[in-house]
C-alpha cells in the first residue's frame, strides 16, 4: 500500500483500479449485511469459493454490505447483468456457477416471484422493492466490498475530498453544503451548512468533529447498514467536514451492539491512514485529520448530543441544558460539530455532483432522500431510500409489498420512541420533516414500524413508555418521574384496571413532561402516547370502559379457548402448554383450564388446525 500524496496520484490510482475492474467480467456479489449473515450468507460465500475452485472458474466473488431487501436474504446478484437470486442456499451454489456464471443461463427456480402478480423477475433492478426507490446513499452498497478501500476508490471514492482540498476554500465547502439545503439526518433536521458555519466561526483554535452513530431507536438500522456497507463514504464526508470547520480530530460514537459495523469502520480507518487519506498533510494540502472510534456502552440517551459528548469524555451519559450548544462549547469545552452518519455520507455526493443537482430532489423544505427501515408487519422488510416527498402509501405498499397474510393495515409508527403513530387516513401525505411533525410523528432516525389489525395501540404506547422509562437517565425530574407515572397508568389500562379519568391524566402528564424535560429524550417521550390517543382514542376507551382489548393482545383482557369442532385431539398443545392448563384425550377435543392458563399464546402458535380462538 502506497501513500497517495497528491490529487493527481489519487486520480492515477483510481484510473488503474477501475481498469482492473473489467465491467464484463462476471462477478457474484453476496450480501454480507447483518441480516443476510444471520440467514447464513457467509456459508453461501464459502460455498461459492469452494465451487469456484472446483470448477476452475474465473468469476469474481465479492461480499458486499447490505442490499436492503433483508426479507429475502441471503441475497445473491450476478453482475454485470444484475441477475437476482434471493434466499440462496448452499446447495444452490454449484448450479449458479455452472449455469448462470458459465453459460449465462437463468435458473428459473431461484428467481424472485413477485407476490402480488405471481410473475418471476430476473433482474435486481426490475424487482418492485428496488425499482420504486431512489437509492442515493445505499446505491454503492451492492457494488463494493466494504473492507476494500480500492473498491471505493475505483468507483470515484475520495474524489470529492480531493476536489475540496485542491480547489475549494473551507468557506466554499460550507456554502455548497448550505446551498444544497442538507438538513441533519439524525432526525431533528437542523440545517447542516449553518451548523458547520457556527462551529467554524466559534472562537478557539481546537475544534472537534463527531459522527453520531449511536443508532439506538429500536427498529432503525440504516446507519448501521451504511457503516457496514460503505464506511469510506462516511469517513470521506467527515474529512471534508473537518476541513470546512477547521477541526483536525474527530470521533465516531458507535453502538457496541453493531459489531460488524464497528469492525468495518475500524478496517476503513486503518486503510485510509495507510493511503494517507487520514493523518498528516492529506493529499499534500497541509490539512491534518484523524478519526477515533468510541463505543457506546448501551445507553439510549447517549444519542442525545450533550449526553454523547459526556460519554466520549468518559462520564455518565447525562445530558446538560443547551445553550451553550456543542458548536460553542462541546467536547472538553471546545467547539464541536456533531452530525449523524447519513448527514456525513451525503456530503461527498453534494460535493461531487453539486448543490444544484442535490436540490432537485425532495420537497421545498427537505432536500435529498430519506432512508427508512420498513419493519414489523410488512411483506418486504428492508431498507428503503426514497426522495423526500414520497408518500407513506408508496413506501408501505408499492415498495414494502403491503401487509402479510391478508391482514388490514392499521398504523405506521415512525421515529421510534420519540416519534408517533400515523393512521391510514394519512397514507397519501408526502413525507418530509414538516409533514411528519404536523401529523404528530417525526422523522427521527427513520424507523418505520408497520402495525396491522393484530397490534394493540395501547400496548404499543406502553411498550415505548417502558423503553423510555428504562432509558431515562434520571437527571431531570419530569422525565424520571413523568415517564414512570405514564407507564404505570398505561399498565393499569392494559390490565383492565383503567379509570375514566386516565385519559385526561395521561394528556396532562404528557404535556408536562414534553414542556419541562431537559433533553430531547424526555421532551419527545410522550409522543407515542399523544399520537395513539389522537388517532386511536377508541382503543383506549375499549380497554378502560369495556375492559376489552380489540386487537386481542393484552393478556389480562383475553381468554384462549379450544374450538371443539376444529380440534383433532393431536395433543400438541397439551404437550407444550407450560402450565399444564390444556387437557384432553387423544383424538378428542381438548379443554383449557382458565385458572391455570397464563395466556402465553403458545398453543395458538403451535396448533395446525386453527382450533384455538382468542376472545
Amino acid at each position: 500500500m502506497e501513500i497517495v500524496r497528491t490529487p493527481g496520484q489519487l486520480e492515477k490510482l483510481r484510473r488503474s483500479l477501475s481498469k482492473e475492474r473489467d465491467p464484463n467480467q462476471p462477478c457474484v456479489t453476496v450480501c454480507g449485511g447483518t441480516g443476510c449473515r444471520a440467514y447464513g450468507s457467509e456459508r453461501v460465500l464459502e460455498a461459492f469459493q469452494v465451487e469456484k475452485k472446483a470448477q476452475t472458474n474465473r468469476v469474481n466473488l465479492r461480499m458486499t454490505g447490505c442490499h436492503g431487501f433483508c426479507e429475502r436474504g441471503p441475497l445473491v446478484v450476478i453482475q454485470p447483468r444484475g441477475i437476482f437470486y434471493p434466499g440462496v442456499k448452499v446447495e444452490d451454489v454449484p448450479q449458479i456457477i455452472s449455469k448462470t456464471v458459465e453459460k449465462g443461463d437463468i435458473i428459473d427456480s431461484l428467481l424472485y416471484v413477485d407476490p402480488t402478480t405471481g410473475q418471476k423477475i430476473t433482474y435486481e433492478s426490475e424487482v418492485p422493492f428496488y425499482k420504486k426507490q431512489g437509492r442515493l446513499l445505499l446505491d454503492m452498497n451492492g457494488q463494493i466490498d466494504p473492507t476494500s478501500i480500492t473498491d471505493y476508490i475505483a468507483l470515484g471514492g475520495y474524489g470529492s475530498l480531493s476536489k475540496v482540498l485542491s480547489q475549494m476554500t473551507p468557506e466554499e465547502v460550507i456554502d455548497e453544503v448550505a446551498r444544497a439545503k442538507l438538513r441533519g439526518r439524525g432526525g431533528a433536521g437542523f440545517p447542516t451548512g449553518l451548523k458547520w458555519r457556527l462551529t467554524r466561526e466559534a472562537p478557539g483554535e481546537t475544534k472537534y468533529l463527531v459522527c453520531n452513530a449511536d443508532e439506538g431507536d429500536p427498529g432503525a438500522y440504516m446507519d448501521r447498514s451504511i457503516m457496514e456497507g460503505n464506511p469510506h463514504r462516511v469517513l470521506e464526508g467527515m474529512i471534508i467536514g473537518g476541513y470546512a470547520i477547521g477541526a483536525d480530530k474527530s470521533f465516531v460514537y458507535i453502538r457496541k451492539e453493531y459489531p460488524l459495523a464497528v469492525k468495518h469502520l475500524g478496517i476503513a480507518i486503518a486503510q485510509a491512514r495507510g493511503y494517507g487519506l487520514l493523518g498528516k498533510d492529506i493529499l499534500g494540502s497541509g490539512f491534518d485529520f484523524d478519526v477515533e472510534i468510541r463505543l457506546g456502552a448501551g445507553a439510549f440517551v447517549c444519542g442525545e448530543e450533550t449526553a454523547l459528548m459526556a460519554s466520549i469524555e468518559g462520564r455518565t451519559g447525562e445530558p446538560r441544558p443547551r445553550p451553550p450548544y456543542p458548536s460553542q462549547e462541546g467536547l472538553w469545552g471546545k467547539p464541536t460539530n456533531i452530525n449523524n452518519v447519513k448527514s456525513w455520507a451525503n456530503v461527498p455526493l453534494i460535493i461531487e455532483k453539486g448543490a444544484d443537482w442535490y436540490v432537485q430532489m425532495g420537497t421545498e423544505g427537505s432536500k435529498g432522500t430519506a432512508i427508512f427501515s420498513v419493519v414489523g408487519k410488512i411483506n418486504n422488510t428492508g431498507l428503503v431510500e426514497v426522495p423526500m416527498g414520497a408518500t407513506l402509501c408508496q413506501i408501505i405498499f408499492d415498495i414494502g409489498g403491503g401487509i402479510p397474510k391478508g391482514k388490514e393495515f392499521k398504523a405506521v409508527q415512525i421515529g421510534g420512541p420519540s416519534g408517533g403513530c400515523i393512521s391510514k387516513e394519512y397514507l397519501d401525505t408526502p413525507i418530509d420533516y414538516e409533514s411528519l411533525t404536523e401529523l404528530g410523528a417525526m422523522m427521527g432516525s427513520g424507523g418505520m414500524v408497520i402495525c396491522d389489525e393484530d397490534t394493540c395501540m395501547v400496548d404499543l404506547a406502553r411498550y415505548f413508555m417502558t423503553f423510555v422509562q428504562e432509558e431515562s437517565c434520571g437527571k431531570c425530574v419530569p422525565c424520571r418521574v413523568g415517564t414512570k407515572a405514564m407507564l404505570e397508568t398505561l399498565t393499569r389500562i392494559t390490565k383492565g384496571e383503567g379509570q375514566g379519568s386516565d385519559i385526561d391524566y395521561l394528556l396532562e402528564l404528557a404535556e408536562a413532561v414534553k414542556s419541562s424535560s431537559l433533553c430531547g429524550l424526555g421532551q419527545t417521550a410522550p409522543n407515542p402516547i399523544l399520537s395513539t390517543l389522537r388517532y386511536f382514542r377508541e382503543e383506549y376507551e375499549a380497554h378502560i370502559y369495556d375492559k376489552s382489548c380489540p386487537a386481542k393482545v393484552c393478556r389480562d383482557l383475553i381468554t384462549y379457548e379450544v374450538l371443539a369442532d376444529l380440534c383433532t385431539g393431536c395433543v400438541v398443545c397439551a404437550r407444550n402448554c407450560p402450565t399444564g392448563a390444556i387437557t384432553g384425550e387423544r383424538c378428542a377435543p381438548h379443554i383449557i383450564n382458565q385458572a391455570l392458563c397464563v395466556r402465553c399464546g403458545l398453543c395458538k402458535g403451535l396448533c395446525n388446525f386453527d382450533a384455538i380462538s382468542v376472545s
Binding site: G219, G298, A299, G314, C451, T455
Partner: protein, 160 residues
C-alpha cells in the same frame, strides 16, 4: 468462564493510550469483554490506576447497560425486544425463556449455565423476533422453538 486475575487487568490498563478519566468507559469495556462482567477487585484496580474515586467507577459501571456487576452464565441469551420484534411476538418468546429457565431477564441460572438478557434492537428486523445465543443469530423465533434451542445449548433439565 475466565477467573479474575490482577495481572490481566494490569495488562488491560497498561495497554491504554491515555491514562486519563476519558478512557474509563473504554477500560471497563475491555474488562467486561474479558470476564463478561466487572469483578469488584478489577474496579478497585481501575480506580487506583486512574486516580479517581471508586464511586465514580461504579457510577459508570451501573449507568451503562453494557456493563454487568454480576457474574454471567456460560451461555448468554439475548432476546431482542426492539419494536419490530415486539409487534411480531417477542414478549411471548421472552416469556417462554423465563419460564423454562426459571429466571427473570437479567438473571443467571443457579448452575451458571445461562444468562438471560434483553436487547433493544439488533437491527436485523427482517428476522424478527430474533434471539442471539453466544453471538449466534436465531431468526423468526417463536415460543414453540425455545425448548429446542435451549436443548441445542445443552439444557437437559425437565420442563418446568
Amino acid at each position: 468462564m475466565a477467573d479474575f486475575s490482577a495481572k490481566e487487568v494490569d495488562d488491560i490498563l497498561n495497554g491504554q493510550r491515555d491514562g486519563t478519566e476519558s478512557s474509563l468507559i473504554l477500560i471497563l469495556g475491555e474488562i467486561q469483554e474479558r470476564y463478561h462482567y466487572l469483578p469488584r477487585d478489577a474496579l478497585i484496580l481501575v480506580s487506583q490506576w486512574l486516580g479517581i474515586p471508586l464511586s465514580q467507577v461504579y457510577s459508570i459501571a451501573t449507568f451503562y447497560n453494557a456493563f454487568s456487576l454480576k457474574r454471567q452464565g456460560r451461555h448468554i441469551i439475548h432476546v431482542c425486544t426492539g419494536t419490530a420484534c415486539h409487534v411480531r411476538g417477542a414478549t411471548q418468546v421472552l416469556d417462554r425463556f423465563q419460564r423454562r429457565l426459571e429466571i427473570e431477564s437479567g438473571e443467571t441460572t443457579p448452575d451458571w449455565e445461562f444468562t438471560l438478557e434483553t436487547v433493544n434492537c439488533l437491527g436485523a428486523c427482517a428476522l424478527g423476533p430474533i434471539t442471539v445465543v453466544d453471538g449466534q443469530y436465531f431468526g423468526q423465533m417463536a415460543a414453540s422453538r425455545v425448548d429446542k434451542l435451549l436443548k441445542e445449548f445443552g439444557m437437559e433439565r425437565e420442563r418446568a
